[in-house]
Structures are given as structure tokens and as C-alpha cells.
Amino acid sequence: MTDPAILLSLDNITKRFGALVANDAISLDLRESEILALLGENGAGKTTLMNILFGHYVQDEGLVRVRSNGGDMNSLPPGSPGAALAAGVGMVHQHFTLAENLSGLDNIRLGTEPLLSLGRRAMARTRIKSIIAESGLEVDLDRRVADLTVGEKQRIEILKALYRDARVLILDEPTAVLTPQEAEGLFVVLRRLAANGLGVIFISHKLGEVLAVSHRIMVLRGGKKAGELTAAQADRRAIADLMVGKAVAEVTRTPGSIGKALLEFDNVCLGKPSTRTALRQVSFKLRAGEIVGLAGISGNGQTAIAALLSGLAVPDSGTLRLDGQPMTRTSPRRLVEAGFARMPEDRQHDGVVGTMSVAENIAIEDVRSPELSHFGFLNRNAMQTRAQSAIAAYDVRCPGPDAEARLLSGGNVQKLILARVLEREPRIILANQPTRGLDIGAQAEVHRRILAARDRGAAVLVISEDLDELFALADRFLVIHAGEVVEAGPADALDRATIGLLMAGQSHTTEPLAQ
């Protein structure tokens, strides 16, 4: 049997940004009916490559060729998204490019034909309906995009590409915003589309889903092709090693010894009750020596819980108790003094002052302590010493304590924050999206530190959108949906499907809502 025809071929694509080689002579072929996963750490060059393919960037060297309807491989003019679209390349960006105030139908037609001609509108509807029937991309075409869920918006984006007769579909991190169930639904659609001949390139850094959906996997590392393998021959370890370029030490979680409750949320409400992000009568406990994972689709009240635990907000009603004592008038400084360690969700924006030095950023939470200042004067030597030992102990890669924090990579910023908050042996730890955007090596390091803090007896709350991360860390699960927190029970008794149902707001079967 001959292989299916090649749809798309990238030939020795090289792209340089100044001294940085983002893509170094990368070649790839995509065949009809194939799902190719493009896997790599942040900064490996995945997005750059796809932006070249789609015409957003101009490559320094190399050719992009797409098969025409006649079967010839025509090379695409560089730097022309219009040409890429015309040649049948469709791209679904990580951040959607939809007009929120138009209906799904109009968004799909937008850019291909005038919106105001009635006859065409009906024709378009029939055609889209048939695409939907073929692909299984069920969505209400007449609702405003603003009212659709994230998963539905994504379907609109895919329909948009298919409506333009895309024969190659590129998806950039499509599952980052989906629940496990929605992601599974997407995979079903992709398999079906591929079976009908579509070629799919699927960009991701999550190993599990890549193995689940793709036929072939290409791994990029540092701008180069690090390896290419079929899904059948791939296993997680091998791919992870390829991505990082060295063996990754796996973090293992040993059961901890759980102590007494340190922090308690008692019927806490915060925010306008009409909004999805407000907390409604939230009650839970954090106990010493235990990691609690808070799962949920983003925008369901996680931010409010994080704000309470950071000291940025106080409950509208209800009580926070520390060691059984109600906490009144919390503030970031009071919480730090009470032994809280707080890792912000947006570490670049809320975690560090970019133009201040590494040493200053490590000192920033307790600069008024006697260790770091006397009578209002800074003890620069103490700051320097602390920074040097933090850099060594937490392996913060930077030119030195005086380097500005903005020069650090995301992983190193997170290590800096870990060094700042964990060195004081905190009793309560809030880790909000602790490894979002970090590479596998940095992820393992962050996880190891959080587990070590738990073993030392700290109570930890991990908020994450990455279920793999939560299963790697958590002893117990909470799930948040529309501002209500449900106790899901010990991690060992749970699976992804159960958590996914709770994330989608389906009530728990074994345990009634404790209200």
C-alpha cells in the first residue's frame, strides 16, 4: 500500500531573531489524513515554525510547499497569510480571533464574503451545516460569540478554517483552555476530520494528549528537530527526554503525615454574587502536611480564593480562621508575617519588579525586617548574602544578584519566587498555577520544592488548570465551579473523568454538596 499523498512540506526552514536561531533547518512533511503533533518546551520554536508556515513571519531560509488541487507542490510566497489561506492552510490560534459581538455564522463567513447579502447567508448556512454534520463540530450558529463557552468558540474557529476549504489545519495549544471532557470531544472531531483527508498539525506541550490523538510526533528542542517518531513507538519517558535533551528526574509523591487543620474557610463569600467569579459560601480546610489541589476551569472563582490567600482581598462575609482564630484585617504583609508563602498566578506581573535586581526581589516581602534594614536604612550586604545563597540553593540562573529580574526566564523567575517564599519555612503555601509556562525541568524542580515543603509540615493549596500537575501533587482534591467549592476527596480515589464532571458543574454522586 502506498502512503497517502503529501499535503504540505517544509524544507529546511531557518529563522533567526538577532543572535537567536529560533528555527534551525527544520523540515517536515504532512500527509493526507495525518495528525502530526509538534511537541516542545516553551521557546523550542514550535510557534515560530507555524507562524512561518502561516505567513506571519518570513523565514530566512527554506521553502514552504503546499499541494495544489491539481496535485503539484507549489511553494508559498513567504510572509503572506492570504496566500497560505488560499492554499488551504487554516490556523486556530491559542488566543481566538473572533468578533465577539457577531454570531457564530457571521464569524465563519467574515472575511470570505460580504455579510449583508441574504441569499449567500442562507447558502453559507447550508454549507456550514453540512460541515458540522460531517465533522461533529456541534455549535449553535446564531448565538453571539460572546455568549459561547470557550470550547464552542474553538469549534467556531475550526469551522471557520474548514469553511475556507482548509486541507491543512494547525491548532496552537488547543486544549489549554478546555476541560478534559471538552478536550476528548475535540480529539474525536480531529480523528474524524483526519479520516476525511484533512492533515492536522497539533501544537502542544502536554505529553498525554499528544499520545492520545496523534499519528506521528515531532519533537523540537532549542529550534532544532530533536526527534520524530510514530505514536505507536513512542512512550512518555522517551518523549520527555527528547524534549528536555536529558533524562528528567521523575518527582514521586510519598504519602505524607497529615496533621491538624491550619487554615479554614468558613462560609466565605466574596464578590458580586451575580458573577461567575464570585465565591459563594466556600468552606474548606487546609491541614498541615497535606497538599490540596483546587481543580476548575479558569474564571470560576480561583482568582478570588487566591486573592484571599494572598491578602489582597478580605471576605465580604464568612470567616477565615488560622489555627482556629478568625483572621481579621488581612493584608499581604500580615499574611507574610503570619507564615504564608504566596506564589502569584501571573508571576511576571505580580511576582517580581522587573527593573529591580534579583537581590531586591528576593528581599521585597520582608525588607522591613531587622535582618534586612535598621532604622529605615537598607542592609545591602544582608540582601546580597541572602540573594547569593538563594541563587545557589534554588538554582536561579542569572548573571548575579544585581541582575535585573526582567532578564530572567519564566522558570527562573518562579525559582526566585520559591526562594523568596520558601526560605522562611512557611506554614501555609498558596501555589497558584505554579508551573504554567515552565519547561519540564523547571516543573519538576517546582514540584519537588512544594512536596518538600509539605513533608516539612506545611499546608499547601495548589491551584492549577493542569490536571496532570494536580494529580502529581495533590493529596486531596477540591473542585471549583461557578464560585462554589466541592470537596472531591482523596486523590487516590479519583480519576480525571470524575474531576472533569465536577469542573463542568455536574453535582457529585457520592457526596452531596456540603451546604
Binding site: 504566596r342 506581573h349 519588579v353 522591613r368 537598607l378
Partner: protein
Amino acid sequence: MSLRLDPREHAPLFLRLLVSLVAGLAALLLVAIPVMAAGANPFEAYLLMAQGAFGSMFALSETLNRATPLILTGLAAAVAFRARLWNIGAEGQLYMGALAAVMVGSGFLQLPAPLAIPAIMLAGFLAGGLMMVIPAMLKQRFGADEVVITLLLNFVVILFIQMLIEGPLKDPLAMGWPQSVPLVAEARFDKLIPRLRMHWGLIVGLVAALILWLMVKRTVLGFEIKAVGENKAAARFAGIPVDATMLKVALISGGLAGLAGVSEVAGVKGYLSADLSPGFGYSGIVVAMLAGLSPIGSVLAAIFIAAVFVGADSMSRATGISNYLADLVVALSLLCVLVGSFFLRFRLRWQSRQEA
């Protein structure tokens, strides 16, 4: 070939000095065009300016006398701008400081000089500071824009001062001139050198610059101001009291401008009038920008700006060219320094079309 911009990781000190220096020189170079248009030789004109500003002990004293309020208003702008608090109201704060000095120091308190001078300085500092604390509080409470409020307050203050010196504060012995009752002798700043106009206000300005420099480099307050100015969200998250820090900055900034007013009243005029300041508050912004918001640099920039004004007066007398060209130099050096600050953030690089 095409030009491209690479962000700089770090702007070294010499480069920052160079940018300020080149900006000043570029302004002088640009002003040479209207000087030539007025029919004078720019080299001669600038030589006369330099002589007028530094050519004699008298000239130097005049320049430093002129620089004194500019140092203080320059510091006022620098400390506020460092915290991203846009204080455009130094002119009004200066007048409020001067008013407070006159209220306290015109004889209603009987104090010996060692107490009277600190008293008028404290009163002036607080009055000027209050004029900035109020807009800062309005900003925090209602999100009111401090640029608009401080700018407009300048006019409010000037009208208020005019009302006072035409009314309750009017000096009955001034033969009808709209000026306030004078400061008592105990509340006056001494001259530094007999028969020359420069006075102890200059020392006040220099000490203020040193204290601010120390504050920026060495104190917790300076640390917190930097954090709040550079990234408010991260500062708040880290537990720095953002609002309180901003109010401290406002007090210091307005206070320094108030001290400029005290210094002009106690060191130069002896009374308050509506022409006390020919825009020292606004020129302070230029001083701070030219200094790259550095306290020590503000002293040098203030002397430069003062020299331009004093030198231009003297040159104007000799050549007949309008001394407005001093304003032109000041305005252009602000524009040049803004252009120059671009080069502190980016590096220009030529590259061939292939690389692009």
C-alpha cells in the same frame, strides 16, 4: 539595508550621562538656527551667554541664585516621576510654600533666627506637600488624574495668592504694589558671600539633593518607592503599602517645591508677590528629565538651565537678540532628552535585507 531596534538589557551610567549632555548640546545647536536668522553669529552669541553665566564672580552668583529654586523644583519632579506620580503642580506648590513662609515669618510669631528659619521651612514644606497630597489622595480614592489636577491647581493657587496680596496680606507700606508684608529679619536667609545675591537656599537645595540621593540608594522608603513606581501590582502583592508610599512621595515632592518658594521669599525677595516665580515649577520638570531623574544630576541640570537663562539675559543686552531664546533652549533640551531616552532603551543596528 534596514534599520532595526534591539532592546537594551542595561543602560550604563556613562550612556545616561552622555544622553543628557548630548541633549543639552543638541538644543544649543538647534537654537543656533533662529540665532542666525536674527542676524547674529551663534558662536559669538553662545560665548556671550557663557560669559554672562560663568564669566565673573557676579555672573556665577547670579547663575547659582537662579539655580537654587530650580534644584528644589527639579528634585520635586524627580522624586515624583520616579514613583510614576506625575506632579505638574510644582509652580503652585512653590507659591503655597512661599505663602506659608510669609504667614509664619512675617512677625506674628516672635522667634529668634535659629528657630524662625526652621519654622518657615517646615511650614513651607508642609504647605507645598499638602498641595500634592490632596491630588494624590483624589487619585487613590476616585482615580482622578493627577496631571490635570496639579496642572489646574497652579492657576487656582496663583489667583488665590493674588487675592491675598491685594487683600488681607497686602503690605500697607508698599506704596500700592501688590505684595505681601515682608519677612522679619530673623526669618531671612543670609547671603553666602557679602554683596552677591546667592544665599543659603543653595545649601538647602544641595543638602536636599544629598538626602534624596541617600534615600533612593540606601533606605527602605527609597526601595519601596522604586517598587511602587516600577510595578504597582507586584509591590502590592509583596506587601508594600502602595497607597501610603504614594502619599509619602506626594508629600516629599510637593514639600520640595514648597521649599523652593520659601527659599525665593527668604533668600531673594523678602516678600511674596505674584511674580515670585517665572515658571520655576515648570522648568523643574525639564531639570528632572534632563537629569534622568537622578537627584545629583538634578543639581547639575538646574545649573545648566539657570546658566541658559542668566546667560541669555546678558547676551540679549549685548546683541539685541530676544532673551526668549532661553525658553527655546530649555524646551528643546526637554525634547532632545526625550528622544535621547529612546536610545537608552534601544540599540540601533543596521542589517542587510536578508536578515530581516
